[in-house]
């Protein structure tokens, strides 16, 4: 198909034209879900309630899975023993969000990141492709820390919610904060 001169089918509507269409139907799906966390992650969530971060080790290849899996994805065998990690780790990547889930502007930007957790058998070397880790909020760091790159590689640890407010959720960890100081 040649260049710009080709005429393609399709009728563009401006925003207000769409809302004035005859017979426009508005519908909001009514659907509510309850998700079971499964064998491995249920135990992990129990651990969070106790202020512990639990993983599982594959007895064949030695991979440590945090969050835990019931089976090793690579060996396709059941993972064996539970291992507890300290919760300390390094920031692998981090960003500053100015928008909500539904793309509304946030008053205060939010910083979130991937935390590579320290675990036995993992060197934390840069060329490690897989690693135990969590996706979470970061606190005690500024947007400038993210933009300058200072935050990457920063040593962090979990800031736990007070025991009485923990419910067995990923949010029992309030955020990860700098481990120094």
């Amino acid at each position: 198909m040649a260049g710009k001169e080709a005429k393609l089918p399709g009728t563009y509507l401006k925003g207000d034209e769409m809302y004035k269409l005859p017979g426009l139907v508005e519908h909001r799906p009514e659907a509510k879900y309850s998700f079971a966390a499964g064998q491995a992650v249920s135990r992990f969530l129990e651990g969070l309630k106790e202020g512990r971060i639990l993983g599982k080790r594959c007895p064949r290849c030695g991979r440590v899975y945090v969050p835990p899996r019931s089976y090793c994805e690579y060996c396709f065998a059941p993972t064996g023993e539970w291992v507890e990690v300290s919760g300390e780790g390094e920031v692998n990547t981090a960003v500053v969000s100015y928008i909500s889930t539904f793309r509304e502007r946030l008053e205060e930007p939010e910083i979130v990141g991937v935390i590579r957790l320290y675990a036995p058998g993992y060197t934390g070397k840069e060329d490690e492709y897989e690693f135990p880790g969590l996706f979470h909020k970061l606190c005690g760091v500024t947007p400038e820390d993210v933009m300058s790159g200072r935050v990457i590689g920063m040593k962090v640890r979990p800031r736990w919610k007070p025991v009485e407010r923990r419910i067995g959720s990923i949010t029992d960890i309030e955020c990860f904060e700098p481990a120094e100081g």
Binding site: M1, A2, G3, K4, E5, A6, K7, L8, P9, G10, T11, Y12, L13, G15, M18, L21, H27, P29, Y33, F35, V41, L45, V66, P67, E73, Y74, N92, T93, A94, V95, V96, S97, Y98, I99, S100, T101, F102, R103, P109, V112, G113, V114, E126, E128, Y129, E130, F131, P132, G133, L134, F135, H136, K137, P143, V146, M147, G149, I152, I170, T171
Partner: protein, 395 residues
């Protein structure tokens, strides 16, 4: 992980003989199946065939939640020419658009069908106020959704990691957006074609730093289609078939935060599979034109590296040298890509395959790359940084 050993003992060689597209626009009057029909009709017309000549139909569309219609394969079937025929819908998130011709390929290569109509459609406009809300459901309900994520987070996290690991700044990455939106000025379907500058990108609304408004492709409605046939059929209908020389696809896990996002391993595995089938040993030399998936500007660079068209972390440097321009050594996204033409998800992937098809037939008009072309590659990516789909074409 192991790279799959493709079965090269195929029954039929497969050619693309026609392609069709609708306009890509933020919202359109046509229903999803009307869009599918328009694209399918054009592809058949270009191939000089009618629906009667088609044995099987492959449909691709991304999450049902965008169109707001479940069973989208069945819903689209009549518009895609699928009634009374073996018809299937495939889906691998954003990777779907390239996966549709891959699935069509095995329909023909296996000897099951002589001719396939491959149709990809997406209508994102029904979900409002913004389709962003629909993306909330791709996140893990237990470990991710409670954190209130926005889809752009994951791209920003990946972009930040890539910038760190490869020591690239936003100024360089913005040049992809500038290039692709400019290329799209010559594309008849284009929704977001523009002459912009690096400064425009850097001054656009910051959504999730480092991602700004002009780093991202738009939300779109649109459809695309290809006619793919066996060698015998191809010889009958055209003097310039474009051959599918290799296909590859792989999935990684959904645990994206347990992997280093700086390099797309899944794209690389898919590329190796496709190159092996195509007998390509040095893709950076043997590929003449490429359409790497560019829903975000950094992703084009990321995918260029995954496709081994540049060494790791070398794509930004080559970009600066003009390597990927239409008159460059290895033009990428000469169509204008998702950044310029638009991103009706599945349709955007097939648009990229259609572009390589037109480039290899020297039919791309003002978009035709300067160098002679023999082999091209199109690629798409999908889901939680995990799906890679690759197709290698030759003339």
């Amino acid at each position: 992980m192991v790279v799959a050993r493709p079965n090269i003992h195929v029954k039929n060689r497969v050619a693309i003989v026609g392609a069709g597209l609708t306009l890509f626009r933020r919202r359109m009057l046509e229903t999803p199946r009307e869009l599918a029909w328009e694209a399918a009709r054009m592809a058949l017309e270009q191939a000089g065939l009618t629906l009667r000549d088609i044995d099987c139909v492959v449909i691709g569309s991304a999450p049902d939640a965008f169109d707001g219609v479940h069973m989208k394969g069945e819903y689209l079937a009549d518009g895609a020419g699928g009634l009374g025929r073996p018809t299937v819908r495939v889906y691998v998130g954003g990777g779907t658009g390239v996966f549709v011709p891959i699935a069509a390929w095995w329909h023909v290569a296996s000897g099951l069908c002589r001719s396939v109509l491959a149709v990809a459609e997406e209508k994102m406009s029904p979900a409002h106020p913004h389709p962003q809300g629909v993306f909330a459901y791709i996140w893990d309900p237990i470990l991710e959704r409670p954190l209130g994520p926005n889809l752009i987070w994951i791209f920003a996290l990946e972009m930040r990691r890539y910038m760190y690991k490869c020591n690239v700044d936003k100024k360089t990455i913005a040049k992809v957006s500038v290039k692709n939106k400019r290329n799209a000025l010559d594309h008849p379907a284009a929704q977001a074609a523009a002459n912009i500058t690096v400064e425009d990108v850097l001054k656009s609304e910051v959504l999730v730093w480092p991602v700004q408004r002009l780093d991202i492709s738009p939300v779109s409605d649109g459809a695309g289609a290809l006619v793919m046939v066996s060698e015998n059929e191809a010889r009958r209908v055209t003097d310039s078939p474009v051959w599918v020389e290799g296909v590859g696809w792989t999935l990684d896990n959904t645990h994206w935060y347990n992997r280093d996002l700086a390099y797309p391993r899944y794209v690389n595995y898919a590329a190796r599979m496709a190159y092996k089938m195509a007998g390509i040993e040095r893709p950076w030399k043997e590929i003449d034109v490429a359409e790497p998936y560019d829903p975000f500007d950094y992703k084009e660079l990321h995918h260029i590296e995954g496709l081994m068209l540049a060494r790791r972390c070398e794509a930004p440097k080559l970009l600066e040298e003009g390597w990927f321009e239409r008159d460059g050594e290895l033009p990428t996204s000469p169509s204008g890509g998702l950044l310029g033409v638009g991103n009706p998800i599945a349709a955007a992937g097939i648009m990229k395959v259609a572009e390589i098809f037109w480039q290899l037939r020297y039919e791309a008009g003002a978009r035709q790359v300067k160098k002679p072309v023999h082999k091209g590659v199109a690629q798409a990516w999908g889901d939680l940084m995990q799906a890679g789909t690759v197709i290698v074409l030759g003339n």
